[in-house]
Symmetry: C2
Subunit: 385 residues, 2 copies
């Protein structure tokens, strides 16, 4: 196990009917900005419950944060936050809204050009407005971490930033609010969480037994409960397990003290930025090919993944690794998430564009050991065709 620091101060309020906690948790006197997306929170009761909990407070709202939230849109919100003098934000929605609110929280108190927050990957952030999240879509884990991914529409750049200043103060997770999600979003959320875990688990071995077992337990949960969520959308226990699983998948715990990959994400980000594919779709496309190409350096963990998660008992490490990749692809497809570039009419020409974008974003030494250079990214993408 490597040395590590783990610190996650976000308070989680989890369960049925918990949105009312906003009343108790947000200090009196705060000027609140509620940030949300396309309005689904108005259809599933979330908006109403939030406003009811905030009755009597000064509340402003900003809607229209997109999936893959754009710098351009978020800066409009930053202006409003400043204009109204808001000093507490609520992100109501999924990972895009929470990611976007993290940027707004940091940019509202940033004296220089806010794009520098992204350019420095967050390292220049010294302060941020406090904010909470009300999660409606289990997927990204943004509700309990300090990471965010922002897209600049003008240049088709989708880039991550990270800062300890943008942990949510608290997050409310009510599984009831996920009942009305479209199947596509449910499936995407499951794939997203699955790949978050893979990025931290399917690496070179680090003899980190707790982290391995936790990662495997989360993967098993997704494999067991994911299909049930699609089959029976109003099964509370299933929804609750998936919601908590997605949070645990990316709150720093399973990645503490172990190597982390993230090359699937970085390649996937370019596919989203260029072609508008759903984030999870890009991950479902890239992961199996990435693991296949890099099987030699990941063999031990892939075989362990096969034995412990997919219950493959026969064969040698090579066989178990190959099978585990095959079953992973099959799992994504079973959720209705396609896993080939050709499923989205992207061919060799698209690969060249992605590689050019990776180059322009200096994504030239990806993976837990830096082995994924531009040539290897190209090979991975060719396997995705």
């Amino acid at each position: 196990m490597r040395n590590f620091t783990f610190h996650n101060p976000t308070k989680i309020i989890f369960g049925k009917g918990t949105i009312g906690a906003l009343k108790r948790e947000i200090p009196e006197g705060k000027k609140i900005m509620v940030v949300y997306g396309g309005g689904s929170i108005k259809h599933n009761g979330t908006y109403e419950e939030i406003m009811s909990a905030l009755e009597g407070r000064e509340v402003h709202e900003f809607s229209g944060v997109e999936p893959n939230p754009t710098y351009e849109t978020l800066m409009q919100c930053v202006e409003q936050v400043k204009a109204k003098g808001c000093d507490f934000l609520i992100a109501a929605g999924g990972g895009s809204v929470i990611d976007g609110t993290k940027f707004i929280a940091a940019a509202a108190l940033f004296d220089d050009d806010p794009w520098k927050i992204i350019q420095t990957f967050g390292s220049c952030v010294k302060q941020a407005l406090p904010f909470a999240s009300v999660l409606t879509l289990p997927a990204t884990g943004s509700e309990m971490n300090s990471g965010s991914v922002i897209t600049r529409a003008a240049t088709k750049a989708k880039l991550p930033f990270n800062s300890s200043k943008v942990f949510p103060v608290f997050s409310v997770l009510d599984p009831l609010k996920t009942y009305t999600l479209p199947p596509r979003q449910v499936a995407n959320g499951i794939v997203d969480a699955f790949v978050h875990i893979s990025e931290q688990y399917l690496t070179q071995p680090a003899q980190a037994s707790v982290q391995d077992r936790f990662a495997e337990g989360l993967l098993q949960t997704l494999i067991e409960e994911g299909p049930l969520a699609l089959k029976d959308p109003e099964h509370y226990e299933v929804r609750a397990n998936i919601m908590w699983c997605a949070t645990m998948a990316l709150n720093g715990l399973i990645g503490a003290g172990v190597p982390q990959d993230w090359s699937t994400h970085m390649i996937g980000h370019e596919l989203t930025a260029l072609y508008g594919l759903d984030h999870a779709v890009t991950l479902a496309i890239v992961l199996p090919s990435n693991l296949t190409l890099r099987k030699p350096s990941k063999l031990e963990k892939l075989a362990q993944f096969g034995r412990r998660v997919w219950n493959i008992k026969s064969g040698n490490d090579e066989h178990q690794a190959t099978e585990s990749i095959r079953l992973t692809r099959e799992f994504f497809e079973s959720l209705g998430v396609k896993t080939r570039l050709s499923d989205y009419n992207i061919g060799q020409e698209g690969i060249e564009k992605v590689v050019a974008q990776l180059k322009s974003h200096q994504m030239i030494k990806l993976g837990e050991n830096g082995e994924v250079d531009l040539e290897m990214s190209r090979q991975i993408l060719e396997l995705c065709l």
Copy 2:
């Protein structure tokens, strides 16, 4: 899954040679009190590393905190903290020292009779001095939680308290510092962590998949790595895994949203208070009998424990549950921890004393469903003979 709130603000600094972080993490100008036990930290280099990190600071020290820290001793430290005007504490040692420091931190700012902190199980604590821990003995999880157990020597009362004000600000976990632990303390630590997990896992089922899988992963880690730690005390990875496992066993994570038992602990506390048995020894005695007697209400989880943790594939639930209890007892014994009251020359008369103490401490409705009344505690203890 039940509704829950999870909030754990303690920062963990984990790994080789990390004690030097004290220098960085403790704000300048603090008057520091270093609290420790019998002096083992002077033999394994911990004391020296702490003092070196604090060079140039105002540092006081208080030694002599016992295993099962007593109110009487801790109050001496409270007086010194007040007299010197200390405003930051460092607990250097195992769970007893950290538990004791939690009490000191709260009592130093408490205006009324400090015993009330215990009598109200911590609910009257409104503030506490900030403190850090430097852990040398993986076992209790006190380094990342808000619980503490204090003994009043005068009345042989060993009682818990809990307050969100006594989370360590940060804890330093350096596995190297565990190399010199006596085998008895290593074994006790493994048993202690094992039973912490059991108290939160071996209950009525709650359909909490993540919590179950995490608990099972921690138990598997202890079963696999525990014997190795005794066999090869200087195996870094083994020590690191056990250390992180013990922290995770009781930091609120696996107990969030699920029923919790704790009757084994409450009965065990009385055995320690009356007979001076090591805490872990009392747990190793009580747990197998507790599970055996309450098998009917815990059958489903005990069978799951058997299948997933002990790899028992044959037989029905009853068989798997029985086997899992037998293997648990065997595991404790294999570590050199005896599991019978008779191993410590405690007989029927002792049982009556324990039951009388449970009664006097109102421990009359224990367990996740309150089923463990005094009569059931007596039956459990009789099975322990």
